[in-house]
């Protein structure tokens, strides 16, 4: 390998070579970050929901009259919904599975530097467990008397999911422990642990799909309205959707904003995620294409510029394979420099991301695969113009310059 001569020669073409290095570095960085983000996005794809999502309906009313007694209206709605044939249980909640976006930090101590744990807190009445068909794993479930209706009163007890218990306490033994719902305040005692169900997009993306808590609370008022979750007799959900909507046509002071099965929300969540990952990958693909054309163009340019040089090398005894090896080595040096720089940039940004979002997307094996892929693309991109280079006849040297 004539690496030293190639380096000396590249020194004479500093500008072009630097631009190629930058382009490859940029491609490496964008491709790596896109693939890493896409991989992180798709990692939590199609996890079990933990609930019979086909048989649960979500109804979201909107109250538009500020003078209305919302708490009473909610009670009224719940009764009417409960009365529909096929409705097994109804519960008002402030968040909906697969769409719980209010992410909260909770703490295990009051210290200033106490570690925070991410979770979605569902405020609901005692029927939520039944609506979602959750299993009580330890402790006790809430009863009607636990549910707080006074907006100014604070909860003193909470139920948490099995995954949340594991996140908070390594051994999952969370019962009777205290957790603070805000930094330094609002302590609550864990009285029960229930089986996991999926929270929402945000925590799902971070690989914390099942970290939830349930507060027994039903303090609904204007601007703090609930969603209604309805557990239907299996198979009846689709058929009963219109009956449910009809209930609201006859009510004053509110309209029906959304009513749908939870399976639809689940699909929406994954669809959004899929298209996001796809967007990343398409951008990367376009970039890779541009870069490979860049490399091919660069080599092609070099071949044209150096026809005489190639002829000289051939006259001096260089075989066709030597000429090809020369161009491959030269471009590999450039590619190597670009990949190195690109990797540094990728590492920098993934560390930034991991500190910013507490999410480690770095995957060194994936990074190596991407580098190898780019290397391979480089080889192909050099190969095609390189074939023209090896066809330069050595007799070119005896023609006038």
């Amino acid at each position: 390998m004539e690496i030293k001569s190639i380096l000396l020669s590249l020194k004479q073409n500093k500008f072009m070579a630097s631009i190629m290095v930058l382009q490859i570095a940029f491609t490496m960085a964008v491709l790596s970050l896109s693939v890493l983000l896409a991989a992180a996005t798709l990692k939590e794809w199609n996890l079990p929901s933990g609930i019979p999502h086909d048989d649960i309906i979500r109804v979201t009313p909107r109250f538009y009259d500020p003078n209305m007694n919302v708490a009473a209206a909610v009670q009224h709605d719940l009764q009417r919904l409960q009365a529909i044939d096929g409705v097994q249980a109804v519960s008002p909640t402030d968040q909906v599975p697969f769409a719980a976006e209010v992410v909260r930090d909770v703490y295990l101590s009051v210290e200033e530097e106490a570690q925070s744990y991410k979770t979605n807190i569902f405020s609901a009445d005692e029927k939520l467990l039944k609506v979602l068909d959750l299993t009580l794993i330890a402790g006790r479930a809430f009863t009607f008397s636990d549910v707080i209706a006074d907006p100014d009163a604070k909860n003193s007890e909470v139920m948490i999911s099995q995954s949340m218990a594991k996140a908070l306490f390594d051994n999952g033994n969370a019962l009777d422990k205290t957790v603070w719902l805000n930094k330094g305040s609002d302590p609550v005692k864990i009285v029960g642990i229930y089986s996991d169900f999926m929270n929402g997009e945000t925590l799902n993306y971070f690989g914390k799909s099942y970290q939830t808590m349930i507060l027994p609370r039903s303090s609904w008022q204007f601007a703090a309205e609930p969603h209604y979750l309805l557990r239907m007799t299996p198979g009846l959900a689709v058929q009963k959707l219109e009956d449910i909507a009809t209930v609201f046509y006859q009510e004053q002071g509110r309209y029906l904003a959304v009513y749908e099965r939870l399976s639809r929300i689940q699909k929406r969540m994954y669809d959004g995620r899929g298209s996001r990952a796809l967007t990343f990958l398409v951008i990367s693909l376009v970039l890779v294409l541009i870069t490979s054309f860049g490399i091919a163009g660069f080599t092609s340019f070099q071949v044209n510029q150096r026809r005489k040089q190639i002829g000289i090398r051939r006259a001096l005894g260089g075989r066709k394979s030597d000429i090809m090896a020369y161009f491959l080595t030269e471009n590999s040096i450039i590619t190597f420099a670009g990949l190195l720089l690109g990797t540094v940039v990728t590492l920098f940004f993934s560390f930034e991301l991991s500190t910013m979002e507490q999410q480690n997307i770095l995957d060194l094996v994936l990074l190596m695969v991407i580098a190898l892929l780019l290397w391979f693309i480089n080889v192909v991109a050099v190969w095609l113009p390189g074939r023209r280079a090896v066809k330069v006849p050595p007799a070119i040297v005896t023609r006038g310059s």
């Binding site: 001569s5 020669s9 006259a315 066709k320 394979s321 040297v397 005896t398």
Partner: protein, 233 residues
Amino acid sequence: MLKMENVSKIYRTELIETHALRKVDLHIKAGEFVAITGPSGSGKTTFLNLAGLLETFEEGDYYLDGENVRGMNDNQLSDLRNEKIGFIFQSFNLLADLPLYQNIEVPLRYRGLSQADRKQRVEQALETVGLASRAKHLPTQLSGGQQQRVAIARAIAGEPKFLLADEPTGNLDSLMAQQVMELLEKINQSGTTIIMVTHDDKLARRAHRNIQIFDGQVSDLEYSVADDIVKRA
């Protein structure tokens, strides 16, 4: 040593056939210094290309150092060029991106010599042409005469049996041309066969033997010192 029998070269396009060389019979012995002259378009360059294995030919046989090169594949020809032939060109044909040292090293690398061996030969060759102190310079930092000496160094570093020189002094002023000629004669005296294409009669007469190419045909010209004197008178 170099023997051509009935060698012809025809360039074909769709419309015409050009007979660049017609049935060349030629025998050049080891150690000869041969000058080849002829008008432009007579076939000198074609002859050089064939002799230097830069082009192939359709008819005849060509024995280089005892080996018939006819029908050899591209790799065999490359290897043979590398080992047996050193080239010197009118326009020097140095690799502009590379310092002198790396320029001279190129054919030695293709031969697969070890680094130590290459170093010894490159330094020796630079010494012979009197440019040992310039090893790290780029060709463009040298004068024309110096560049041609680098090209000669590159040609002799591999200790080839033949030197093929294509108008080696064509781009040089008379003083530099003189120096280059002396260098070639010195190399010839050490046993290397030299075939030199030139326009310059004066240079041609310094060779042992003069061959003229005219209209693709090769013939020996007999010169003697006496002829010269008669002509001058």
